[in-house]
Amino acid sequence: MTLLEVNDLSIRYAIDDGSAVHASDRVSFSVDRGETYGLVGESGCGKTTLAKSLVHLLDDNGYIESGNVWFDGTLPQWADENGDAKQSVIDDPDKPVREDGKTDLAALTNKQIRDMRWRDIAIIPQSAMNALNPVYKVGDQIVEAILRHEPQTTKAEAHDRARDLLERVGIEPDRADDYAHQFSGGMKQRAVIAMAMACSPDLLIADEPTTALDVIIQDRILEELEKLQDEFGVSILVISHDISVMAEICDRMAVMYGGKVMESGRTEDIFGETANPYTLGLKNSFPTITSADQDLVSIPGTPPTLRDPDPGCRFRERCPFAIEECHAEHPPMYDVADAESTGRLREATDQRAHGSACYRIDELEQLRTDALNEDTWTEQRIESR
Amino acid sequence: MSDNQSGSSRRRFLQGTGVAAVSAGLAGCSGNGGSDTETDSGGSTPTDDQTPTENQQDESDIPRGGIFNLGMGTAPDTLNALASSSAYASIIYGQTYESGAAIDPVNFEMHPNVFTDWDYEVLDETGETDQPNTELYINVRDDELTWNDGTEFTMDDVLFTYNYYMDQVPGGYAASINPIVSIEEHDGDWDLVMTLNQPNSTFAYDQFGLPILPRHRWEDVDDYNTYAPQDTDFGGPVGLGPGVVTRYEPDTAVEVSYTDREGEYTLSNLSWREDVPGIIPGGPFVDAIRYRVYSSESALHQALFNGDIDSLYSSIRTSRIEDAQEDENLELIDGFDTGYGHYSFNLRRTPLDDQAFRQVLGFAFDDVYWNQQLSRGYEQEGDFVMPPGYTAVRPETGTDQELLTGPSTQAFAFRQSSPSVPNVEAIRSFLADGDIITGEGGTYAGQEYPGSLTGVTSTQSEQVHDYSFGPVESEVLVNADEEPDQEIRVNGQTITEINGSPLTMLLSPASESPQTAQMVEDWLGSLRQIGIPVDREVVSFNTRVTRAYGSEDFDMFSMGWVNLSPFATNTLYSLFHSDNADDHSVVETEGDDSNTDTLYNNAMGYGVGENSGADDLINSARTTLDPEERNDLSREAVERIYLDFPTMVVSYGVQKWPVNTSEWGGVIGNIPGPGSTYLGTQFLQVYQQE
């Protein structure tokens, strides 16, 4: 069952001189209930922006240009006893609620979305280590979240729940009375995770959940997340540049580049049946994905600036396989299975299916082979000189 | 009125001359030095006949009651009359004290007060001052006098008072106390006998003017400095006066109440008061005086125009005179200065040791600019060291010349070639030709002088130095905006060569007296035009006092005097007698005690050398007990000082004392210091209009 359905979402950052950064351009993907979905890409590709935009947490100059974010859940005041949208709300054309009860988060006001934040969608920010306020006790910060969304809860109950949550992530309940600076890095991370579960959200966005941590703690945090997912049945949207982490935990994922989704599908498809030059390049640069004896090859060049980009494929400047067509327009999502089986390009109709934005997926075998060859990438560098 | 004699026997340094002498309270100097009088007033000089405003009202008809509010720009320092050095305090504690004799501000005669009668006998006609010399016989009032705390007054208190003074010698009264050798009960017809070590023609003013102290309050005070009457159980000074201090918040508010003493205070009923024009006997008529202290002159004046106060201490500031004239409630009471503003010169320095050179300094002073422009007509042109109100000792008295404007008072008038431009040529040739004004008639620097009024001549009869003019060399002149074409040579040298520096004028910061600062600039500019190298140094009041009166380390300075004695003699003695000057002619060596840091009033060193001095005339005047003769001698001394020119009398303030006369009557005008020196007199007779 789909929990989140993002359709053609475009996000811009306004710049003083009147231009705009196209941080995310007509991005579509969907997350099912109980699923772990990954957004992967180099830094600056728009994945964090995308995640933040879901709950309107963009910086001041960021805004949603177009698109919908359909979420299976609605505002408390629009919901009936079961938490589903009331029929009257669905019928009201002024209210962004669809026939199936999904609400368009992109169309909510700031005030409305605040009621959805944390209660329905919690977010663990990129710098979770610094996400705890140094001047308040850790427990109080969890209590604050609980009381915000469940005002009928008494303070004592909230405190009990906070301790309970901490215990669940492996922190002694008594540490609830400590301050953040008394916690270790991993403990802080787990405390934030505990806080994220305070209101049992349907969706948990974890932005680079492991970046600043050492490997052992990384693993523990990932385990923690999986455990919580089992316990609470929460869907997790993981955002990371670390393709190996993604491979480990995601059910499905989308590879982003330059504000566009380059490839999406089930994790095993993406890694097993890689169908996009960018993903191929990305795979090359991570040790765990490719076999151990192979040299790491990084994609030459730097990511493009997204300031008023031209219409061509975002990746073409760095792509060793770029052809004439790539300069004219960014390729749409093509169904990979279809292309492989028929050898023809067909635009993907099912978001869930394995798709790739590349004009050359009809020659997939060739691409995959060439991509493994280091020279493909370095030669390209020589050419571009 | 006698009560304010305690204050007026003390001279206070006045910090500036003229208009802004009343400094803003902030500067703080005024509280200390008592820059109490001097301001300026409405365009005209006091009425010509100089008779006090008459208050022909029968005492019994006068309405009683009401509270008179007086504003002050500076806080009083203490209620301890012996330790106080502030005029702002004396107008408060003055209401609680009485002295032996009282002066009237109209005829300046001494009248009975606590002492009913007195006489004197000169023991030693030689006038030597180092031995018992004069005996004063005193009768003390014994009928129904009480202290303001209710205790009965006895003759014993008087004995105690003078012995206490002799023992403690409070600084402010030292000049009056030091001559007293002893005071004892008289074994004859008189009550008391006081022995002085020098003949003093004005003993009734000096020695009898001291406040009489209650024995029961002071006998346990071992050091007068440490006594604070406001901290006692009575809460204020105990004295024989009409008032009781009922509230003392020195920074903001003080109240002196008269109601407590109703019926007890009888000294204002003394018969002599009925004979003095303008004086109303039988007061005080109001219930209380409230003194309100303001931090700034602006706030003070604002309070006056808002009606928060009925009057203010001393005189209204020039800038508000017109406002006061337009205000229907206010009336400006005219009065005279009790002192003068001056620029004084150090006679120990070359060429200031030469009378002729000093006289030239007078020629360069643009009196019109000062009196009419900077002071807006509220200063009177200065000449003699006695203010115009003290007519008896002014040299014009007895001649047909007019007060202040007669030609003999214009010997040192501004020599101008066109308005406000000094006549450089005439002044230079006065010096170069060996001229000097000695008192003989003649034409000096282009202006007629008919000769001295009293026939006295100056100490010098010819110039001491040779003057000539040559190329400009001194730096201060080379850089001067005035661009003089020649510089003076004294015996062939420039002044800068002789002294190592140009002549330097000490003056106060412009904040305290902006007009003075401007005037000095103008004057120095004229001097530089003539070719005299001069510079100025801005120093605070305290520094100026130390430099001028303490160490005599100055060339020229500007200051002022107030509360001078109307009897001239002791003013002349303390300000112009060589006894009161440090003699720096003796080479100063270490441990040399002859030149002390004592603040001698004769800072100029007038009379110290051979080329100046009026010691002989002052001595004679002081020891002459006959008033007429004494005044004659005083006038001669005054004119001698004028001609010798140790000090340039810049101007006398025209007093314009603002009073809300729509509510209050009875104030007396055309007296010296109507709102300051004789404020006590006003308090005794002010009454609420019906």
Binding site: - | A20, R317, P419, E512, Q515, A517
Partner: protein, 320 residues
């Protein structure tokens, strides 16, 4: 031919190459500076005041000696009593004389005094600001560089002591000791205002000291002085310029306060003295044309320093 070209090209090129990045940097800084409107406004005000200081005659309708009714010196006539009484005169435009901001009680034109006084404020502001930077910055550098040694401790204790002395009264004592001249006032202000510079620079130095390039310089055997002046100071300078501007503003106000308390050189033309005069001559509430302009000028001068300082802070702040 080709070689020659190359040579001259290298020559010109090296100079250009050396300067280009700096010019480029300056240009970028300037661009960033001009993004701040208050910075530009401050600069404009300061330019106006600078022009007033350098060529007051061009702006002022009269000299400072000009007197209403009489005119410019040489003055060879006197005001009549009636004319004297009309002073201070409100703004007049030709009848009976031209004084667009009126006159003071002496008949001098307020506008002319205002313009001629800019120099004094400018001088005091810049001199005192510079001086306190010259004291505060080196002390802060030394204190920070030798952080947690006795040198640092000594300097910090000294700063503590100076903080214990109230600025204005302390300034009054200093001026009283040394006499009331503009130079002494500047010295007094500098002596009392270097503290903030010292503390801020110290903090900055402390953190810079830990940076890797300083560490590597140390390892390379650079002397302490070299590290301080070569590696740390250039990074501290921007923030000290900010403080210089703020100190200059503070100095302008402090001088006016001293003038209010009567401690200023009265012959110097200054805004503080103009205000002091209106107080001591008693026209505060009677002559708005005399009361307002000097205060506004003081305010604008100080504000322009602040404006520039805060805009520069933004420009130099690496975070933005």
């Amino acid at each position: 031919m080709a070689t020659q070209q190359g040579d001259s090209g290298t020559d010109g090129g090296s100079v250009r190459r050396r300067w280009e990045p700096r010019i480029e940097r300056l240009k970028r800084g300037w661009d960033r500076y001009t993004e701040h409107r208050i910075g530009v406004v401050g600069l404009v005000i300061l330019v106006v005041f600078t022009l007033w200081s350098i060529i007051p005659g061009v702006f002022a309708p009269h000299s400072t000696e000009w007197i209403a009714y009489i005119g410019e010196p040489p003055i060879e006539s006197r005001l009549t009593a009636e004319q004297v009484r009309s002073l201070p005169h409100p703004p007049a435009f030709g009848d009976p004389f031209f004084a667009p901001l009126g006159t003071n009680a002496n008949g001098n034109g307020i506008l002319s005094l205002l313009i001629y006084s800019a120099k004094n404020a400018m001088y005091i502001g810049l001199a005192a600001g510079l001086l306190s930077s010259l004291v505060g910055v080196p002390l802060g550098l030394i204190s920070g560089f030798y952080g947690d040694t006795w040198i640092d401790e000594a300097i910090q204790r000294f700063v503590d002591i100076m903080y214990g002395l109230p600025f204005l009264p302390f300034l009054i004592v200093l001026v009283a000791i040394r006499g009331i001249t503009t130079t002494n006032i500047i010295i007094g202000i500098a002596v009392t205002s270097w503290l903030n510079n010292c503390i801020t620079v110290r903090g900055e130095t402390l953190s810079l000291k830990e940076r890797s390039y300083v560490e590597s310089a140390k390892v390379a055997g650079a002397s302490d002085t070299r590290i301080i002046f070569r590696h740390i100071m250039p990074n501290v300078l921007p923030i000290s310029f900010v403080f210089l501007a703020q100190d200059a503003a503070g100095a302008v106000i402090a001088q006016a306060s001293l003038a209010y308390l009567g401690l200023a050189d009265f012959t110097a033309n200054s805004w503080g003295i103009m205000l002091e005069n209106i107080k001591s001559q008693g026209y505060i509430f009677d002559a708005w044309w005399w009361l307002l302009p000097p205060g506004l000028a003081l305010m604008l001068m100080a504000a322009s320093f602040y404006f520039i300082g805060f805009s520069m802070e933004d420009v130099t702040n690496p975070q933005r």
